[in-house]
């Protein structure tokens, strides 16, 4: 019994195949999904999605969205998703530093909101490369 995982972004399908287990970060913490999970609908936070394929874990950075877990069918709708292997470590680190600097400089409610979002995204990308297990 395997799970069928579908990760969709507005301009392409990032993942569409079978997996053994996934660990998803939601607004209310991380949830692990095994085959025959009860149907759940949840909001997905800006965080990491971990996928297990035959004792090998893959990471993917998700930029917030929604997930629906049905009869062994998981559909994840996100604004943007990047596989950990596709992210350039140096570039991600630079983006993180820039985002941190921007947050320091931010003035006013609007700039702070934007800077916060950018920082969270940059942090997720860096984490996606670092986490191996």
């Amino acid at each position: 019994m395997t799970l069928n995982l579908c990760v969709l972004t507005p301009n392409r399908i990032v993942w569409d195949s079978e997996v053994k287990e996934i660990i998803l970060s939601t607004n209310s913490g991380q949830i692990g999904v095994l085959p025959n999970h009860a149907p759940v609908a949840t909001a997905v936070d800006i965080g990491i999605l971990r996928i297990r394929l035959n004792d090998q874990w893959l990471t993917m950075a998700l930029m917030g969205g929604f997930a629906r877990i049905g009869n062994n069918e998981i559909t994840v709708l996100v604004n943007d998703a990047e596989k950990g292997s596709d992210i350039d470590p140096q570039e991600a680190q630079q983006t993180l530093e820039i985002a941190e600097a921007n947050l320091q400089k931010a003035e006013g409610k609007r700039q702070t909101i934007e800077a916060n979002l950018a920082l969270r995204r940059a942090r997720t990308r860096v984490e996606a490369i670092n986490v191996i297990s």
């Binding site: 969709l8 507005p10 399908i13 607004n27 209310s28 949840t42 909001a43 943007d80 409610k109």
Partner: protein, 461 residues
């Protein structure tokens, strides 16, 4: 001078100098009389009247007769005979065209002669002659040839641009097709959640309807030119909307996407622009994300109370429509509302397909209604339904913006295709006209050379 010559009677013989002066005077007088007539004759022989191509050939057989007859009579007779012949074959209004060169050439023969001597190394400032224009082309053969070559090159370029745009339209279409699974699933989920939340009051921040004091306009334009009136239409629509908002007494700010819009707004500092964004070749989710972030923060921080999106809707290959859609506040059901309040159901998705019909590229728009499958009744919401809606609506915003960018790109490519196609057609027509004139001039030149040779040979005989 004449007194000096009268003194000849007093001397026995004529000095060589005096002889020389007599000869010179006689020759000069003869030239003075004969040269203009020569030029007129040559002009008639070579130029001919418009339409009578065989003038040169007919004359060459009668050349000897012409030299024997008095110049004036021969020219007049020749001219009138051919004029009558010409007139019967052509439209009456061309009378004027013929009379002008006739009188001009007879009265001022020098002007025609001088024009042929204009140095050709000047940049060819030739006025093109169409089949119905009055001015003949006064360029040299070389200039005409250069002009024909440059027109040919221009035509190749415009043809290539048209084909490139056609290929890119196909790619833009594929991008829309790729984004469909996302929007379909999203709409499905949105519907189901709304059904569950029908009794409750939804209070997601993105659906917050406030009294409108300031409006943000997102204007989507293209990056490059040569696309006909595409960029102008959207910018005009933006200006019209700004005028409307001013009349209503509302404040406004603009977010400009695309190089053409950016350069337009930069030159007008009296329009407050929030941010300039540039699109890439194919709009990606990342770019839509930047715009969505901007709009999101503007709305949430209550700097603006309404966000409107101006883009060009892709209607067909020859027609595009600039439209204004209200982006925020979102209606919780996910309806897309026009400025006038006409709302389109989100489940009805319109998408376009580029196909061929009877060998020509056409566009078909299909309206697809997504099947909204019922959620399983035991579905649990991990979080509060309101929180889930909160997570869904930014996704929806993102996909709307991306769709607008994609449609805008597709209409820009279609506009470029049709503009380049008509440019290619114009270029081939111009080339045809120029080639005709070039051939005529070339033939006339050859005829002239033959006449000169025959005349020279006759003179020797």
């Amino acid at each position: 001078m004449f007194d000096h010559i009268m003194d000849i009677k007093q001397y026995d013989g004529l000095s060589s100098f005096q002889l020389f002066v007599c000869g010179f005077a006689a020759g000069a007088r003869a030239e003075l009389v004969c040269h203009p007539l020569d030029v007129v004759k040559k002009r008639f022989q070579i130029e001919g009247y418009r339409g009578t191509q065989d003038m040169g050939l007919v004359l060459s057989t009668r050349l000897t007769k012409i030299f024997l007859m008095p110049y004036g009579e021969s020219i007049k007779w020749r001219a009138w005979r051919d004029f009558m012949r010409w007139q019967t074959g052509r439209y009456v209004h061309r009378l004027l065209i013929v009379f002008m060169p006739l009188t001009l050439n007879a009265a001022v023969p020098h002007s025609g002669f001088l024009e042929e001597q204009i140095p050709s190394h000047n940049s060819p400032t030739c006025s093109p002659s169409r089949s119905s224009s009055v001015n003949p082309i006064h360029c040299s053969l070389r200039d005409l040839r250069e002009r024909i070559d440059s027109v040919k090159n221009t035509q190749k370029i415009t043809e290539a641009m048209k084909l490139v745009a056609a290929a890119k339209v196909r790619r833009a279409q594929e991008a829309v097709v790729n984004g469909r699974p996302f929007s379909e699933t999203l709409v499905e989920v949105l519907y189901n959640i709304n059904e569950q939340l029908q009794t409750e009051d939804i209070d997601a921040p993105l659906t917050n309807v406030r009294p409108v004091k300031k409006v943000a306009l997102v204007v989507v334009t293209g990056d490059r030119g040569l696309c006909g009136g595409f960029n102008n239409f959207i910018i005009k629509k933006a200006e019209a909307r700004i005028a409307e908002l001013k009349e209503l007494g509302l404040d406004y700010t603009v977010i400009s996407v695309g190089k053409k819009g950016n350069s337009y707004f930069i030159r007008r500092p009296y329009i407050p622009v929030d941010r300039f964004l540039e699109g890439g070749n194919l709009p990606t989710a990342k770019e839509a994300q930047t715009i969505a972030d901007d709009v999101f923060s503007l709305f949430i921080s209550e700097e603006v109370d309404k966000v409107e999106l101006l883009y060009t809707k892709f209607v067909s290959l020859v027609k595009s429509d600039p439209v204004i859609h209200t982006l925020l506040p979102l209606s919780p059901k996910g309806e897309i509302c026009d400025v006038n309040g006409n709302c389109v159901d989100a489940a009805e998705d319109e998408f376009f397909r580029l196909t061929t019909k009877e060998g020509k590229l056409t566009l078909e728009r299909d309206v697809v209604r997504t099947e909204t499958i019922e959620f399983s009744p035991i579905l649990q919401f991990e979080q509060d339904p309101v929180q889930i809606l909160d997570a869904l609506l930014p996704l929806y915003l993102n996909s709307q913006i991306l769709r607008a960018l994609q449609e805008s790109l597709a209409s820009e490519l279609a506009a470029r295709m049709s503009a380049m196609s008509s440019a290619s057609d114009n270029a081939s027509e111009l080339k045809k006209n120029l080639s005709q004139v070039y051939n005529r001039k070339r033939q006339a030149k050859i005829t002239g050379e033959i006449l000169e040779i025959v005349a020279g040979a006759d003179a020797l005989v």
